[in-house]
């Protein structure tokens, strides 16, 4: 069963082609990494999955349906460079998540707040960049959803926060229910998380495959990336 299916998806912003007849398939129950240079179309790819952007052409299937707010009941999405409401406290943010997202697991959320080292009474505005990233990740991971989309969750984040985020993902990943898609530039730190990997450039898939098989054939994912994009 595939979690995400794309057939010849084209997305243009004016004259810029963000997705160039993109065709791919992401299996469920696994963690898939989407790697590629800036401008490869990774963020646009994520946005089309949650319906924030509509393609000009092509078919997109998410969990067996077309992207819509109804499918988003089963999708948790962490956008690139997005912020949380600064006037919330950590506790209020979690309560808001609980009220607004179905399947939000309050116990899991509170566990994650503790294990990721956040203080319940701190206001979001006073948190560091890394702590804000951890909070937003908690709001995704605490949801019992089938599909988790993380667009550059490590971007600009300090090393400790990155490690905690990785630990959080491993802690909550449930391989018989969940599919995770992560895009990142921190390949060295994140590649041990991936079951599958997709390399994108200029809106197309240039290589994809099972990570352990690729390791056997070609070495580390980081080296493969270097080989492709240098």
């Amino acid at each position: 069963m595939t979690a995400v299916d794309m057939q010849n998806v084209i997305k243009k912003y004016g004259s810029t082609v963000a997705l160039d007849s993109l065709t791919l398939s992401i299996p469920e129950g696994q963690i898939t990494g989407v790697l590629g240079p800036n401008g490869a179309g990774k963020s646009t790819f994520f946005k089309t999955l949650v319906g924030l952007t509509r393609p000009n052409q092509g078919d997109i299937t998410v969990l067996g349906q077309k992207p819509s707010w109804k499918v988003n009941r089963q999708v948790a999405y962490l956008a690139d460079q997005c912020r949380w409401y600064e006037y919330h406290t950590v506790r209020e943010a979690v309560e808001y998540g609980h009220a607004v997202f179905p399947d939000f697991n309050m116990d899991k959320a509170q566990e994650l707040v503790l294990s990721l080292g956040l203080a319940n009474d701190a206001s979001v505005g006073s948190l560091s960049k890394g702590q804000k990233a951890r909070l937003q990740l908690i709001l995704c991971l605490a949801r019992d959803v089938q599909l988790l989309l993380l667009d550059e969750p490590f971007s600009g984040i300090d090393m400790v926060s990155r490690e905690k985020i990785i630990e959080g993902i491993i802690q909550t990943f449930s391989n018989n229910k969940q599919t995770i898609i992560i895009s990142t530039h921190e390949i060295h730190q994140a590649e041990s998380l991936f079951d599958q990997v997709i390399f994108m450039d200029q809106g197309r898939v240039i290589m994809a495959g099972e990570v352990e098989t690729l390791r056997q054939e070609r070495g580390s994912i980081e080296n493969i990336y270097r080989g492709l994009f240098q």
Binding site: K47, V50, G51, L52, T53, R54, W69, K70, N72, R73, V75, Y77, A79, Q81, C82, R83, W84, Y85, E86, Y87, E95, Y96, A99, V100, F101, P102, G125
Partner: protein, 250 residues
């Protein structure tokens, strides 16, 4: 807390937004209000009619309040969180409207109370102008103006919401035309509404207040007009939901 209420509550939060520049706008609005009130009540009854601008300002404030509730999601980069809440776009927009209403009520409440207190002060200071008949006429006029404002409020807020969504949709270049159209429609609608205010005989002693509003419509006629306002607001909400769902991108 249900989802809908949580969404409203998130919009209604006002006091904690200390960085938000809208606070500046509200301060400006309140200052203007105080000035106008003082002018209106301090000299003669002539400038008193300036007070009619107060409810008009409230309508503008309603428009801006509703519009900024929505545009701030884009501005503060929380938009992808807001738009991926798994509920219909109508629910999202309706919650913003109600949140704006709560915010507006808090602000308007403070403004109106402040106006009343200042008015009271000036009334006590100038008993030569403010005789009992004059006060009762003023109170009548003020209350009718505020009632009219409240009737038109849903429409003003719906238009503010529509404007905010329009400016983020792919039709944003049509905004000037749409606003001109809406302005014309509003003008026509005002004609429909104005009979609520009506005109009446004037007490010869208060010739400076030449147009004292009196309701010369039956209660059912008023209810009809209020109902129509709400229906139009609902239609605008539906149109905005469509725009947000199909014609907007992040």
């Amino acid at each position: 807390m249900t989802r809908f209420w949580a969404l409203i509550d998130n919009s209604g939060k006002f006091n904690k937004d200390h960085n938000y520049t809208a606070n500046l706008r509200w301060q400006l609005f309140n200052t203007l209000l105080v000035l106008l009130t003082s002018v209106g009540f301090s000299y003669s009854l002539g400038p008193f009619s300036l007070l009619a601008f107060v409810p008009v300002f409230l309508l503008f404030a309603a428009f801006i309040s509703a519009s900024s509730q929505i545009s701030r999601e884009w501005r503060e980069q929380t938009i992808s969180w807001w738009l991926t809440v798994p509920c219909s776009r109508s629910e999202l927009l309706a919650s913003k409207l109600l949140g704006a209403l709560i915010r507006l009520t808090k602000i308007a409440g403070i403004s109106i109370v402040a106006t009343a207190l200042i008015a009271l002060g000036w009334i006590l200071v100038k008993p030569d102008i403010w005789t009992m008949p004059a006060i009762s006429v003023a109170a009548l006029m003020a209350s009718k103006l505020y009632i009219l404002t409240i009737i038109v409020l849903p429409l003003a807020m719906a238009l503010g919401m529509f404007f905010a969504v329009l400016m983020r949709s792919r039709f944003k270049f049509f905004a000037p035309f749409i606003i001109a159209f809406v302005g014309a429609a509003f003008g026509a609608g005002a004609n429909y509404l104005l009979p609520i205010l009506g005109k009446t005989e004037v007490d010869t002693q208060l010739t400076l207040i030449s147009q004292i509003p009196v309701f010369n419509l039956s209660l059912t006629a008023i209810v009809l007009r209020v109902g129509l306002m709400l229906v139009i607001a609902a239609v605008i909400l539906a149109l905005s939901s469509y725009l947000l769902a199909e014609q907007t991108e992040v």
